[in-house]
Each structure stands twice: as C-alpha cells, then as structure tokens.
C-alpha cells in the first residue's frame, strides 16, 4: 500500500485475526478499495473563492480565455482522489439534484434544455478540471457560473459525478441506480463514451 493511501486510511482500528492472510488475499483490491471507500468527513473548508464580480453572471468569457482556477495544491491529484472515491461521487450526485442541475440536463444527464451529459460530446473538454471549470465559470448559452455559489469541494464532486454519467469513472466507484423515478441506467453500468476529439469547444465571438 502506498504511504499516501495508508495515511488517508489512518483510523483507529481494532486488532483482527488472520490479518496477514486477509491482507495477502486482498492486496489487489486493497489499493483500489482503500481510496474508494474513504469518507473524508472532516475536510478543511475550501479555500476562499472569489465570488463572481457580478452576482449571477450567466455569460462569462470564452473557454480559452478563462484559465481554470484550481486552488488545491495539485489539481491532478485532487481530481484523481475525487474520481476514485465513491462517497465523493455520491455526494456529487446529491449536489446534482440539490442544485437543480437536473433542471436543464435532466436526471441522469440525458439532456433537456441543457446539453446531455451522458454522451461522447464534450463542448468544453472532458477532463475533470475542465468540467470543474465549466461548472465554476459557466459557459455560453445558459450554463451559469457557480463559483462562489458552491464550495470548491462540491464542484469537484459534482464534476466527478458528471463524468460518471458518460461512464468515465471506474464502475466500482460510480453510483448505482437512484431511489427515484426513471433516472436511466445506473452510472456504474454505463458504457464508457470515448470523448470525441472533433467536439471542440465553439469559439465564442
């Protein structure tokens, strides 16, 4: 087990029998399991996020000109951590409902007024930081900016969930069916949609 992983799972544990045997048997699952199952309940509060200059800006600048504002030390590590953590992804699903993302993208991300999130087209990039940027900064034609309205942690969790809608996450991390009416195929059962390279973001003039 890598030391980082061990540190994260660091919790008081009772001694258990057959420790060595169990470890040896499940080492392959261990690395994945450890991160997948962590519940980081006491994360430090997000770093301050500048509220948008005008509250409720719906049409921020174009994709290219607005670099992603990532405050964590290492965005890649942070992104991986969120995307490997089932609890974080399930929280993302909760925010998707709470913040009414489903109002435009439909429950399960099938798309309605807003573009579908479960297909292979990514107007503004499919990488996790790009999705976070889309959420925080908004996109032309209707996607509001959520910077300052949700915590950064929530944005990452939300983005991870959004990526699970098109099968980008491991199936043991992505969520199962919802306790609700018709929310489509469970995320964990979705085929991975290979992001189409030709679906580049439109340049906004």
């Amino acid at each position: 087990m890598c030391s980082r992983c061990r540190e994260r799972c660091h919790r008081p544990r009772p001694p258990r029998p057959a420790l060595g045997l169990a470890l040896a048997l499940s080492l392959p699952l261990a690395l994945a399991g450890c991160e997948r199952e962590a519940r980081r309940l006491e994360l430090p509060p997000s770093a301050p996020l500048a509220a948008p200059s005008k509250a409720g800006v719906l049409y921020p600048g174009p994709y290219a000109s607005a670099p992603v504002r990532v405050t964590a030390a290492d965005p890649v590590v942070r992104g991986q951590r969120v995307e490997e953590n089932a609890y974080a992804v399930s929280q993302g699903k909760r925010w998707f409902r709470w913040f009414n993302c489903s109002g435009c993208h439909a429950g399960g991300g099938g798309g309605d007024m807003g573009p579908p999130l479960s297909d292979d087209r990514w107007l503004y990039g499919h990488e996790l930081p790009q999705v976070v940027a889309s959420i925080l900064q908004g996109r032309p034609n209707g996607m509001p900016a959520f910077a300052g309205r949700i915590s950064e942690e929530q944005a990452w969790q939300l983005a991870a969930y959004v990526r699970s809608l098109s099968g980008q996450l491991r199936s043991d991390v992505a969520g199962g069916r919802s306790d609700a009416m018709g929310s489509g195929e469970p995320e964990q059962r979705r085929e991975r949609e290979v992001p189409r390279p030709d679906a580049a973001p439109p340049t906004v003039r």
């Binding site: 430090p44 509060p45 997000s46 509220a51 913040f99 300052g148």
Partner: protein
C-alpha cells in the same frame, strides 16, 4: 461572557499544519476577541428532557402507566420464578460424579412435579392473557386521543435535520421552520410524517412513542403536550453518519406564547438596517448559503437545508447539536464538519470581516 466553542465531536486526529488548524485558531481569536460577545441563549437540556419516564402529555402517560403495570407483573413473576429456582437449589440434595443417577422416579412418572409444572404453565398463560389485554387496551386508548381542533404539522425528515410545515386552513398562514417545534400546551397535534431520503424515526419520549418516517410512505402521529417545557427528541432509526446528531427540540408553551411565536414565524424576515448586517445579507444571497437555505422575504428560496427565516429565535443550531449564539454560529459556518462530521453543509473560509457580517445578518433573523 465568553463561551468556549465546544464541538460535539472532537476531531480524532490532528492533521498537522493544515490550513484547518490555522483557520480554527484565527477564527477562535476572531470570535473571542473582535465580535461583541453574546451569551448563549440556549437553555440547556437537563436530565429528563428526553425521558420516557417523565411525561409531558397523555400519550406518554398512558404508556408509562402500562410500563408500570408490566413492570409490576413481570417483577412479581420474575421474583416467583427466582424463588422457585432458589428453593429448588436450596432444598435439592447434593451429588457428585459418583452419585448414581436417579432413573426410577422419572420412569414411574412424577405426578407432583407434573402438577406443579402444569399449574405454573397455566398461571403463566393466564398472566400473559392479562398482559395482552392491558396492552391492547392501552393501544386503543392511545388511538382515541381527541383530535378536534388539532394543530396540523407536516414533518419531513432529512439526513440529518427536521423540516416542519405548520399547516393552516388559510394557505397564506402556513409557515415553515426546522429542528424546533413549538406546540401549544393542551392542544392535540397531528403530525404527518415523510422522509426525504432514508428511513428516520420521530421520537420525543416525554410526549409519545415513536413512528418511522419511510420514503415513499406517509404516516401520521397524534400527540398532545400538556406540560409546558422544553423536550428533546431524537431520530431513532439509524439513518447514516449523523444519526446521533439529528435531534429535535420541542417547546411546549401556553397558548398565548405559542400564538405569538407562530405569528412571528409567519412574518417574512425583516430587511436588515445595520450596514454590517446588510453586507451580511448580500454575502448570504450571493454566496453558497442561498443555494440550500431559504429566508422568507429574500431571494433565498432553496429548500435543501433548514429554513433560516427566524434562525436567531431558535435555541440550537444543526438539529440540536450546537447551541445558538454568535460564536457558535460563526464556528459552525466556518467548519460544520468539526461539529457534525459528515454533514452536508460545506465549510467556508470567509475573510474575518465577511464572517462577522454574515453572522451579524443571521443574528437579525429573530
């Protein structure tokens, strides 16, 4: 008087020089040094405020009577069985490994033992029938609580808080609150129970037995609170990480006091006048708060988290886990997970003056 922030749950591990520690220290300095310090208004819950043996209404009292009856009957039966057992042990002869086993008696049949066992069994059956009757009678008495003139409250359980809507024939007079029920003494209440996510259970032991709130189903519970006072209720069905931190405060007060409270609840929040509070309101509406919370009379109308229209009038924050006061409110906003690990409310790193303003605004929501 300065009140120390006392988290419900101390963090299990220090995380080294994390921003959190720094933030907490800064916050504490800020809260203790700069803010005009407010004494905590919350009256503490004492022993017996969540107690099935101290009743505040007829439903709980009926059950308590049944408990006393069962305790007496079972106590007598237990004593009788123990006495028989004791006498048997005391009077029986002693044996060892080499005692030849007694086979003749069992072969001949043991009429005396048989008679005693039969008699004891018969007595048990009769006693049990009595208990069944007592139980059924109590059940029927509970169901007969008169409900004319009942107050209707719709209670929805969420992970991990209680949402209450006070119904009224006149829709404009319904209002919403959270985590703190006020009930008029002596007037029956009909609770309609829903669950938003998982199964919870409504339980205020001083007032009534419990009832589960199950997603996809609706249940009702009738109760009456006769004795004014503050009672504590708690979710009684394991509902996830903060099951322990899902309390409900029930304030039973005389009719007039209740009416005044209800009238206050119906009013939207008053716009703040103080510039600091006004700034706080802007922060509230433009920030993360309004994504989940509602404040009547403002644009904040989300219903994912407790309605804050009259937050400052409540004794406690976060479903009964944190006493309501300036310092606590600030600490809670900054780092809710320190009090309720697992809560769905995110932490915030506001600049000190922003936090100050926000708290000042929330303090105006009386």
């Amino acid at each position: 008087m300065a009140t120390r922030i006392r988290p419900l749950q101390r963090r299990p591990h220090a995380r080294g020089p994390e921003p959190r520690t720094f933030a907490a220290a800064a916050l504490a300095a800020l809260v203790l040094g700069l803010l005009p310090l407010a004494a905590v208004a919350a009256p503490p819950f004492g022993a017996g405020s969540q107690d099935a043996l101290r009743t505040g209404g007829p439903q709980a009292a009926l059950i308590l009577d049944l408990w006393r009856l069962l305790l007496a009957v079972c106590g007598v039966v237990f004593a009788a069985v123990m006495a028989a057992f004791g006498v048997a042990l005391w009077r029986a002869r002693r044996g060892t490994r080499d005692t030849p086993p007694e086979l003749q008696g069992p072969l001949r049949g043991e009429p005396r033992s048989a008679r005693l066992v039969a008699a004891a069994t018969g007595a048990s059956a009769v006693g049990l029938c009595g208990l069944i009757v007592a139980s059924v009678l109590t059940d029927r008495a509970l169901a007969r609580l008169p409900l004319s003139n009942a107050l209707h409250v719709e209670l929805t359980a969420h992970q991990w808080w209680w949402q209450a809507r006070y119904d009224d024939a006149d829709p404009s007079r319904t209002f919403e609150t959270a985590n703190e029920l006020h009930l008029p003494a002596g007037r029956p209440v009909l609770l309609t129970l829903h669950a938003d996510d998982v199964i919870h259970s409504f339980w205020v032991p001083n007032l009534s037995g419990k009832k589960d709130l199950i997603p996809g189903r609706t249940a009702t519970l009738a109760l009456r609170a006769d004795v004014p006072g503050r009672y504590r209720g708690q979710c009684a069905e394991f509902c996830g990480l903060q099951h322990a931190g899902m309390a409900l405060e029930v304030v039973v007060e005389p009719d007039a006091a209740y009416a005044a409270w209800a009238e206050r609840q119906r009013r939207p929040a008053e716009p703040p006048t103080d510039p600091q509070a006004q700034r706080g309101q802007r922060l509230f509406l433009a920030g993360t708060c309004a994504m989940c919370h509602a404040i009547q009379g403002t644009d904040a109308a989300a219903r994912r988290a407790p309605d804050l229209t009259h937050l400052a009038g409540r004794a406690r924050l976060a479903a009964g886990t944190v006493p309501n006061g300036r310092a606590q409110l600030a600490a809670w906003i900054a780092d809710p997970a320190a009090f309720k690990p697992g809560t769905n409310m995110p932490g915030h790193r506001y600049a000190p003056e922003d936090l100050d303003a926000l708290v000042a605004y929330l303090e105006t929501l009386r």
